[in-house]
């Protein structure tokens, strides 16, 4: 895989996945493969940190659009982490993914 790294940390039933780099059409499938491989049947909660992602677009978001319903069916919780003002936060919000998957930190509705 090119230009993105997937770091995985297991903690009891929880898996924290941090993606570093850029996710686009060229490497989305490879990123997805690694994320899916990290989610074993024992996992109850998946947290994907996109804070270190410099670029992600709709091709990269497809990974999460397809992952969300599959995990919901398996009763596995999914959350995305993207700091306010980061490139990934912007795309997650405008794409509508934020309405499907809880986003951390939560958007401050009063301020927005």
């Amino acid at each position: 895989m090119r230009d993105a790294r997937v770091d995985i940390a297991h903690d009891a039933g929880r898996v924290r996945i941090a993606v570093v780099g850029e996710i686009d059409l060229a490497n989305a499938a490879a990123v997805e493969e690694q994320i899916v491989a990290a989610i074993t049947n024992q996992v109850t909660c998946v947290s994907v940190d996109l804070g270190e992602v410099d670029y992600i677009d709709s091709a990269g978001l497809r990974v999460f659009f397809s992952l969300a319903p599959r995990l919901a069916g398996l009763q596995i919780a999914l959350e995305l982490v993207a700091p306010l003002g980061s490139p990934s936060r912007r795309v997650v919000e405008v794409s509508g993914l934020a309405s499907l998957v809880p986003l951390q930190p939560p958007t401050d509705r009063a301020a927005g």
Partner: protein, 536 residues
């Protein structure tokens, strides 16, 4: 036996004339191999011998290699190798003086060719040039024969002349080969990177011998630009070959590195110690961010680059200098980052530029700093060479690589035409990011425009062409206060297939001010407008 004794067939005067024939001018035009064969014929004739052979020392293996032979040509065809100190030739080489063997049957002869040929007596002399052993010359007789002291003296005289001629010819051959190799290993031309200017000067070795200096500059798919100047310790063909391997290794390691020059040098260091033990090199390695704003540098026993920003005189960068590459023990290598404002000039160079006998290094570095100013890269190179080399013939390789970041604002539009494949997307974004930074777009605007460029280009890659492929054209233009992005293809779109597709256009609309999509039978053009603020 006495009929074969020296001096009985030819008078001393004749033999002296014969020796002259060994070095006549007619030989000068021959290649090393042809020259040796011709010499062997003459030696055979002078000493009235049946066979004659030259074995040259192969320094890396310490073996004598049959290089030319008359009467026993098969020795050359078989590539016979004799270890130093063993067999007849090995003994001559080890003793460094003439050796005669009257009866081969009783002696330590390892070369089966000599025995099979029926050679009975041998006389050998070392090829010595300037105290250095180059090889062995020997003659053989099929009839038993006593080679006397006069024969030995004569053969040694011939051997000395053969040694001189061989050395001159070999070093000329090596020098030419090294020059050709060196040229083939250095970049033919520097890459053209919009927003950057680069120029170089390379002077191959003083005193007719190439060294191991190299320079290189290349772009990475991530938009980073890598540049390096280095120097392999040593001279000649070997240094040039090591230089070539190092240059390739730097490129390979840079491809896998994320803006970490110290990490690249660390891998080179490990590579040298593992695969090229005994080799040492110095190098400076720079990685320029895709925005061109900052240059990350790491130095291994090499002079630091000189930087001119137009704000005061040029200075050489104050950097932690780590040990050269290939020297044990390994160290944790350090990097430093410098700002590269628009218009700034950075000069990388090898020590051949600043070292001169009888002049202090500080004075030379001072001269270099005075020669480097904020002017076009070619002009800077010319001035540096005029000021620092002038009329002095260089005694060492000189490599000079000058880089200049072009001035703001680059209001020129950016035009790209790249293959519509997924791996192009990253390059498109890197170029767009550079251009947006150069027109002063704020970070938040940059994120949105890059996203729009990425989505529109991604759409072309996925939907515009069939398996035959085609190009995606991207144009970024400043129409203050807007940036206008045009993404164009010449294919016929198909509707999206698969799940979770077609979200890209929605995203473009969400992050920009105006989007028009013109879909025709001969291609599609997407024009996007986005207001950008100036960076504070």
């Amino acid at each position: 036996m006495s009929t074969h004794a020296a001096g009985t067939r030819k008078g001393a005067a004749d033999r002296l004339r014969d020796i002259e024939s060994v070095t006549d001018a007619g030989l000068a035009r021959l290649s090393v191999d042809d020259m040796l064969v011709e010499l062997l014929d003459r030696v055979r004739d002078i000493l009235d011998a049946d066979t004659a052979a030259v074995l040259l020392l192969d320094a890396p293996t310490g073996q004598l290699v049959a290089t030319a032979a008359r009467g026993i040509e098969e020795e050359v065809y078989q590539g016979m190798r004799i270890p130093l100190g063993r067999g007849f030739a090995g003994r001559v080489a080890a003793e460094r003086q003439p050796v005669a063997i009257e009866d081969v049957q009783d002696a330590d002869v390892v070369n089966p060719v000599l025995r099979n040929k029926g050679i009975r007596s041998l006389l050998g002399a070392p090829l010595l040039a300037g105290g250095r052993l180059l090889g062995v010359l020997h003659v053989g007789s099929l009839a038993p024969r006593h080679f006397g002291g006069t024969d030995a003296d004569l053969l040694q005289m011939v051997a000395d002349r053969v040694a001189l001629a061989t050395q001159a010819r070999l070093s000329e051959t090596e020098r030419r080969a090294a020059l050709v190799l060196q040229r083939s290993l250095l970049p033919e031309r520097l890459p053209q990177v919009p927003g950057l200017e680069a120029a170089m000067r390379y002077i191959a070795g003083g005193e007719g011998d190439v060294g191991g200096d190299w320079y290189d500059m290349f772009t990475l798919p991530s938009g980073w630009v890598c540049m390096t100047v280095g120097d392999v310790v040593g001279r000649g063909l070997r240094a040039a070959a090591v230089m070539g391997r190092l240059r390739s290794a730097v490129r390979a390691y840079a491809l896998g590195s994320q803006g970490d020059p110290a990490g690249i040098l660390d891998r080179i260091d490990r590579m040298l110690r593992q695969f090229e033990p005994g080799e040492m090199a110095t190098a400076v390695l720079g990685l320029l961010e895709p925005s061109f704003e900052r240059l990350h540098l790491s130095v291994a026993g090499h002079p630091a680059p000189v930087v001119a920003t137009g704000n005061g005189p040029a200075t050489y960068v104050d950097l932690p200098v780590d040990p050269p590459l290939g020297v044990a023990p390994p160290v944790r290598r350090q990097a430093a980052t410098i700002e590269v404002p628009p218009g700034a000039v950075v000069c990388f160079y090898s020590d051949g530029l600043v070292e001169r006998r009888g002049v202090s290094l500080d004075a030379r570095l001072q001269q270099l700093c005075e020669a480097v100013t904020v002017r076009p890269a070619e002009e800077v190179c010319t001035t540096v060479m005029v000021q620092l080399v002038g009329h002095h013939r260089p005694t060492d390789d000189i490599a000079l690589l000058t880089l200049r970041r072009l001035d703001l604002p680059s209001a020129e539009p950016l035009d790209l035409a790249v293959p519509a494949v997924a791996s192009s997307l990253r390059d498109i974004r890197a170029a767009a990011k550079r251009w947006l930074t150069s027109v002063g777009a704020r970070p938040e605007d940059l994120i949105d425009v890059l996203l729009a460029v990425g989505e529109a280009s991604s759409n072309v890659v996925e939907h515009a062409y069939g398996p035959k492929g085609g190009l995606v054209h991207v144009r970024l233009e400043l129409q203050r206060p807007d940036v206008v992005v045009t993404v164009r293809d010449t294919g016929r779109w198909r509707s999206p297939r698969g799940d979770n597709r077609g979200r890209g256009t929605h995203i473009i609309q969400a992050v920009t001010d105006e989007v028009t999509i013109d879909r025709r039978s001969d291609g599609t053009e997407v024009v996007i407008r986005r207001r950008v603020g100036e960076a504070g």
